[in-house]
């Protein structure tokens, strides 16, 4: 969470400088700068995820060296999951919390002609992002562990895609539906990478009932 926060800080610093240095009246420029800000922020987030991976790697090596039986008490997969959840939670919190605070107060949604589904779609979008961050964490760390650069690249591209799709808002079908599809894909991929399989799933479901 802290790493995500720092990446957000740096990216907003860049955007802020860019905005201050540019003409505030030019709408298109502002929009362009915003897009640039978003993309840059995505890249920074992934960079920080990588840095966090490096830090955790060192920590695991330390733990292994110190432990009695040569294996650390917490595996890299668990760390990947936790890192993903941390990123996701922080990103979700930052996206939603002001919205929630405003939702408590009086007002009408979309009174100026904006979409009336604003809160609802924001909630869904945030949820999908949190899930995605979790899965991306697992995928990313797995890619780093096994030196599969294409996995890392896939995560970055997916992130960029989802952020880019959010530019379709308020045309929600353009942003929400693909995002959910991507999330399902990432979920299956992460599940398979973590050692799950169709059989495991079936056994799990059958055992439950």
């Amino acid at each position: 969470a802290f790493f995500w926060l720092v990446s957000l800080l740096l990216s907003s610093l860049i955007w802020f400088i860019a905005v201050k240095a540019s003409d505030p009246q030019d709408e298109r420029l502002q929009k362009g700068l915003l897009i640039f800000g978003v993309m840059f922020s995505v890249l920074l987030q992934e960079a920080f995820r990588f840095l966090y991976y490096k830090l955790l790697r060192k920590a695991i090596e330390g733990l292994v060296a110190l432990s009695e039986d040569g294996c650390s008490p917490i595996s890299i997969q668990q760390m990947a999951y936790v890192a993903g959840v941390g990123f996701g939670l922080m990103s979700g919190a930052f996206s939603m919390i002001n919205l929630l605070a405003d939702a408590l107060g009086p007002g009408t949604v979309g009174i100026h002609g904006d979409s009336q589904l604003y809160f609802l779609t924001s909630a869904f979008m945030t949820m999908v992002l949190i899930f995605l961050h979790t899965f991306w964490g697992i995928l990313f760390f797995h890619g780093c562990e096994h030196r599969r650069w294409w996995e890392i690249a896939a995560v970055v591209i997916m992130h960029l895609t989802v952020s880019g799709l959010s530019f379709c808002n308020p045309l929600y079908v353009g942003s929400l539906v693909p995002s959910y599809l991507l999330m399902a894909a990432a979920a299956t991929w992460a599940y398979l990478l973590s050692g799950g399989s169709a059989q495991n799933l079936r056994r799990f479901l059958l055992c439950k009932c």
């Binding site: 802290f2 957000l8 915003l34 002001n98 604003y118 952020s163």
Partner: protein
């Protein structure tokens, strides 16, 4: 205002004491008999607690103790295991401190956001005599710096005074002072707080009910804090009084002064704990020399078995549940340091005759705890509360400061595990908190607002 000031005086004093983390070097009571006598004769002696400590495991303490007493130290052989234990329990310590700090912050933020009273400007404390309602920015800055200088010098004077009192063994005086300040906190501030909360929610309460509620709250608090009481209740009371104190600071410190004071006090904390002639360090060392725990009322402890305490209660120990978990480790450790264990045991036993002593485990429990000064709680909460109050109503800033402080606390505890001596808990967390506050408020907020208005996601 005068009485307020007087009481605040004593409040200031404890504030200074609470600002450091220390590694727990448990001063061993020489023998069981001595321990008993000590508890019988004077509360003062038996009720002192260690200031702050993070206990890493009896191994480390045992190592330190043994080397201190000249016994041939098997430290080299124990080092590895010490480190492993340190890391293993490091995470537990961190969690043990996260929860109370988070709770305190939640209480403060919830109050700030809902009760108008604490964000209204209603005068200033006498410690910040210069007003900030000045026409020019430069003047305002100057005033806030002057306010800070006044405040910090007050704190320094109080701390030195306390250290002198402690050195010359004026325990009764310190006792009385701490009792007075906790009395004021528990009764007066609670009364004001309750009044404001009731006003906000428009709930009517008659005076007899109010009297009964406050009397019970205050009396139980005094008993828990200064005498015996259930662990969790003590911890809860400590959190509550830290929150109350933080709220008072948030209300009465003018804006810019508050930020400058936060910065200055973390520098002061750094110097007071680490410099050889620093007052806090002298306090810690004197307490260790005399084998007495430092004022229990000023420290939050997460694993102490001490329920008898002075003034600001160090939030006492964990419940017996942890003991059973650590039993295996404890048993192992105890074999290596029987004398140490015994002394600890006696110390634990003497003030708590009624507590069912599970001998070895109890001691280990004590060792495992981490202690954090109450001043740290207060200033963390002041930072987060100020962020909540003044950051243009933005929750992102509050959240960012909160995460920053917790990460700072993590890092401090990590350093504590590495250095194994008293460390100031304020500097790292407050620095992170301040950086994140100003950057989030000025940089991230416009960015996030623009993103939210276009419903873009990053």
């Amino acid at each position: 205002m005068i009485t307020f000031m007087n009481n605040s005086d004593s409040e200031e004093e404890p504030c200074n004491e609470r600002t450091s983390l220390m590694s727990a070097e448990s001063p061993p009571v020489p023998s069981y008999q001595d321990g008993l006598q000590a508890s019988d004769t004077g509360e003062a002696q038996a009720h002192r607690k260690r200031r702050v400590g993070s206990s890493h495991g009896p191994n480390n303490i045992a190592g330190a103790e043994m080397s201190g007493s000249g016994v041939p130290v098997r430290e080299s052989a124990l080092d590895n295991e010490e480190e492993e234990l340190t890391l293993k329990y490091g995470a537990k310590h961190v969690i043990m401190l996260f929860v109370p700090v988070t709770l305190c912050m939640i209480v403060v933020v919830a109050t700030i956001k809902s009760v108008r009273f604490y964000t209204e400007k209603n005068g200033q404390l006498i410690y910040t005599p210069f007003s900030e309602d000045t026409p020019s920015v430069g003047q305002r800055l100057l005033n806030s710096v002057l306010n800070t200088i006044v405040m910090i010098s007050v704190i320094i004077v109080m701390t030195v005074f306390l250290v002198l009192l402690y050195k010359y063994r004026c325990y009764k005086f310190i006792h009385g002072w701490l009792i007075l300040s906790s009395l004021m906190l528990l009764f007066l501030f609670t009364y004001i707080y309750l009044g404001e909360v009731l006003k906000t929610y428009n709930v009517a309460m008659d005076y007899p009910t109010l009297f009964i509620v406050i009397w019970n709250f205050g009396a139980v608090g005094m008993i828990c804090i200064h005498w015996k009481g259930p662990l969790q209740l003590q911890q809860a009371y400590l959190i509550m009084i830290s929150a109350l104190m933080a709220l008072v600071f948030i209300k009465y410190l003018p804006e810019w002064s508050a930020w400058v004071i936060l910065g200055a006090i973390s520098i002061y904390d750094l110097m007071a704990v680490l410099c050889p002639k620093g007052p806090l360090r002298m306090l810690v060392e004197t307490a260790q020399e005399r084998n007495e725990p430092i004022f229990p009322a000023l420290i939050y402890s997460s694993a102490m078995m001490w329920t008898v305490g002075m003034a600001k209660p160090v939030t006492a120990a964990r419940g017996p549940s942890q003991q059973t978990r650590d039993a295996a480790e404890d048993g192992r450790e105890h074999l290596r340091s029987p004398s140490h264990a015994e002394s600890q045991m006696s110390e634990t036993r003497s003030p708590l005759p009624t507590r069912p002593v599970t001998s070895l485990e109890e001691l280990e429990e004590e060792e495992r705890g981490v202690k954090l000064g109450l001043g740290d709680f207060i200033f963390y909460s002041v930072l987060v509360g100020k962020a909540a109050a003044t950051a243009s109503g933005d929750w992102n800033t509050t959240l960012a400061c909160f995460v920053a402080i917790l990460i700072g606390l993590c890092l401090t505890l990590l350093l504590l595990a590495v250095f194994k001596k008293a460390l100031p808990a304020l500097p790292i967390s407050i620095t992170f908190g301040l950086i994140f506050y100003f950057s989030t408020d000025n940089l991230v907020r416009p960015f996030m607002d623009t993103l939210a208005s276009h419903q873009l996601y990053i």
